[in-house]
């Protein structure tokens, strides 16, 4: 990359030098060269050249986010259609300090520009800024102070992080003072896991401070769907993460960390037979499931109960994946796709079996 690094800087109306709260509804506009904090950036980092500044009313972006993002992307298009050497290599935004609307605007613009033009984007925010939670997974957020008193120090952190990203250097949240993005990355420690475990226990026993290597996460919850009034008239579908698939595993669902789910017809089938079905799951002893796949997905019992009038109708397909080291992100994706099909088919209830 040729020096100096050409960057685009995003600022709200106030720091962009356009006006105060009275201009908070201003549409984004493109200004040539640096403004306010952009000048400090250039002063600290001679390798950075602020090609253009996008100034926006923070109310406008916070209230019309989609429209504002489209407008900014359009505004920037000419830069990315220009000759290669002229193209901006990064987007910086803020510091937004602890200003919520300003933070949200910086987050939204950084995320959109990074995705569309494939350049790194870094915002600068106070860690408690409400936009941090919203955007920390999507973009890099350098830690800023709480208010404008911390301008120089915040600009410096933003610039250091930006340059490291451009130069492909390894970065770590604690050392480089940015908000952790929620991605786990492997590295080699100097000590074995066993040594670390005993060291940490001794610290804990002495009441000394220690840092867990995996902080406990919080899981999201979903509101329970209303109960079925009468199962004998309801339409039921079967789903399993226990890996029951037609013999030969036609969709090649992995034994671990499945990348897909299978959709299989059960029309006219009243039970799984070991001749025609098997498990593709690699995480449990398959002997019993292969002997009788109904032990994992009880199709035989469901069909009998349907015949006896306990169930209205059965959805003609079942859905199967392998819940073995399968990432939550993939499981969510499978769930969303299956839900769409089930809703379209008028399915009212689901039995989901896991091993």
């Amino acid at each position: 990359m040729a020096l100096p690094y050409r960057i685009i800087h995003c600022l709200n109306q106030f720091f962009g030098g356009i006006g105060g709260e009275d201009k908070a509804s201003l549409k984004p506009c493109l200004l040539e060269g640096p403004r306010g904090p952009g000048n400090i950036l250039q002063k600290f980092f001679p390798d950075i050249e602020v090609t253009a500044t996008i100034a926006f009313g923070d109310n406008y972006v916070a209230e019309n986010t989609d429209r504002a993002v489209r407008e900014v992307l359009d505004m920037l298009r000419p830069f990315f259609e220009s000759a290669k050497a002229e193209k901006p290599v990064m987007l910086l935004a803020g510091p937004a300090f602890n200003a919520g609307r300003y933070g949200l605007a910086c987050g939204a613009l950084c995320k959109a520009v990074a995705a569309r033009y494939e350049i790194p984007a870094v915002a600068s925010m106070f860690p408690q800024n409400p936009a941090v939670n919203e955007y920390r997974k999507d973009i890099y957020i350098a830690k800023a102070g709480e208010d404008v008193m911390a301008m120089e120090e915040s600009v410096r952190k933003l610039g250091v992080l930006g340059l490291k990203l451009l130069e492909g250097e390894a970065i770590w949240p604690e050392k480089d003072e940015y908000i952790p993005r929620g991605f786990r990355q492997n590295y080699f420690h100097t000590q074995s896991g066993a040594t670390r475990a005993i060291d940490m226990l001794l610290k804990k026993l002495k009441g000394e401070s220690f840092t867990t290597e995996y902080p406990m996460p919080t899981f999201d919850r979903v509101k329970p769907a209303p109960a079925i009034k009468d199962m004998s008239t309801a339409r039921l579908a079967l789903v399993t993460s226990g890996g029951i698939v037609p013999k030969g595993n036609p969709d090649r669902i992995s034994a671990a960390n499945a990348q897909c789910f299978g959709t299989y017809s059960i029309e006219g089938i009243s039970a799984f037979t070991p001749e025609s079905y098997q498990t593709a799951h690699g995480g449990y002893d398959p002997t019993f499931a292969n002997e009788n796949p109904n032990r994992v997905l009880p199709l035989d019992a469901v069909c009998e109960l349907a015949a006896e009038g306990f169930i209205g109708t059965l959805h003609e397909y079942y859905y199967a994946t392998v819940g073995n080291a399968t990432s939550v992100a993939n499981a969510r994706k499978f769930g969303e796709s299956i839900a769409k099909i089930l809703v379209a088919d008028g399915v009212q209830a689901v039995i989901l079996t896991s091993t």
Binding site: F183, R184, F188, T195, R196, A325, N330
Partner: protein, 414 residues
């Protein structure tokens, strides 16, 4: 009734006329070993024996178990007498894919850093069984052949002079330092069915758990692996023979802590059994008077629930814990790492994200059932590139995220 372990390190290994240790070189008579193993079990149809050394361009595939060669030169009960063991030699058993979770060892290249067995001189047994065996019988043949080979090689060092002699005794007879905290070790064993079992004194660990067992007995070859969980976090027999937590607990005893003992427990398949094992384990740890405990694990997914139950119960009982686990955070590291969590688990040692990707360059030599290589693609999310390099998740490498803590790998949020 202490156990003395005489450790031996070799400088090279080679095939030769007589199996013996000479000038730091372990000589193996291939035909004798072959005949010994074939003679022991008529269910072995074909057997290939090969050597793999550190830094060679060699990849071993479909690895089932790894065992350090050893022999008991004095005494006969576990935890008694004198054992000789070759520290940097390993018997590596390979066979066709049965449990989907057989693993890879690379002797050089980027994959080597992730497995302890790139550092050992390996005697690789590629075992084919007679047709018609059930999967668990297949695994039994391979498991017993590996143990037999480790004994066969152990005979070669019966009369050798060990490089290091260490004696391990029951914590009951070790001196106690009143100023140091009392620490126990909770040792979880996977025990979930015919292909997912662990054996203690040759008995299936599904029964008779949890129990207090003296660590010096565990320093003997008391636990053997018989399971097909993911290669990265299965505890092979070698890991049980070389449990780093036991070793460190002994080393730090009287200096930083009082090692009060070990509770062996299982990871059963039924919730009631999990709750039962957990409750009993907590009682046993309390009965030892432990103030703190380290909890190691085997496998992932439902064993996370066992580990979290133990953490919650022990912390509620006033026993402080640290626990070793690996993570399954997805290839990009952005997903939930564990299947179960509890807020009491505030001291976790992460031994790495098993979903992390690595590219293993092509190797000159492949050992193991090579015709099964393409099937490996169904076992692990991975792909073979045009240049024959292999893109694989770390979970396919034997011992890469070992939950006894034998490796240096860790994981952090970026």
């Amino acid at each position: 009734m202490a156990l003395t372990i005489g450790s031996i390190w070799i400088e090279d290994i080679e095939f030769g006329h007589k199996s013996l240790l000479r000038d730091k070189i372990l000589v193996v008579n291939k035909e004798d070993l072959r005949n010994f193993l074939l003679g022991k079990d008529n269910r072995i149809r074909a057997l290939d024996i090969a050597l793999a050394k550190p830094e060679e361009s060699t990849r071993i595939i479909c690895v089932k178990d790894v065992i350090a060669p050893w022999c008991k030169v004095k005494g006969d009960a576990p935890g008694e007498g004198v054992n000789h063991v070759v520290k940097n030699v390993a018997v590596v058993t390979c066979g066709k894919i049965v449990g989907y979770q057989e693993g890879i060892i690379d002797m050089s290249g980027p994959g080597a850093a992730y497995s302890p067995f790139s550092q050992t001189f390996n005697v690789v047994l590629d075992i084919e069984v007679v047709p018609g065996l059930e999967p668990h019988q297949h695994e039994e043949v391979v498991r017993l052949a590996g143990l037999a080979a480790a004994n066969f090689l152990g005979e070669a060092i019966r009369t050798s002079e060990p490089d290091l002699l260490e004696t391990f005794d029951s914590p009951d007879v070790l001196p106690v330092s009143p100023d140091l905290p009392k620490v126990a070790y909770v040792y979880m064993l996977l025990s979930q069915g015919l292909l997912h079992d662990t054996y203690v004194f040759g008995q299936d660990a599904k029964a008779g758990m949890p129990r207090i067992i003296s660590p010096h007995v565990l320093m003997d070859v008391s636990i053997t692996s018989g399971n097909c969980v993911s290669a990265c976090d299965k505890n092979t027999t070698w890991h049980h023979q070389n449990n780093p937590l036991l070793r460190e607990m002994y080393q730090r005893h009287g200096k930083e802590l009082n090692f009060v003992g070990v509770v062996l427990t299982n990871e059963p398949v039924r919730l009631a059994a999990k709750q039962d094992s957990s409750a009993k384990t907590i009682e046993l740890v309390k009965s030892m008077g432990a103030e703190g405990a380290v909890i190691s694990k085997e496998g992932f997914g439902n064993p996370d629930a066992d580990q979290m139950m133990l953490i919650r119960g022990l912390e509620e009982a006033g026993v402080k814990t640290t626990s070793i686990t690996d993570e399954y955070a997805g290839v990009d590291g952005g997903s939930q790492s564990l299947a179960d969590v509890t807020s009491e688990a505030d001291a976790i040692i992460s031994v790495g994200n098993a979903n992390g990707l690595i590219i293993l360059p092509p190797m000159d030599r492949l050992l193991g059932p090579i015709k099964d290589l393409s099937h490996l693609a169904g076992a692990y999310p991975q792909s073979v590139h045009d240049d024959r390099s292999l893109e694989i998740e770390l979970q396919g490498i034997i011992g890469s995220t070992n939950e006894l803590g034998s490796q240096r790998l860790s994981c952090r949020e970026i």
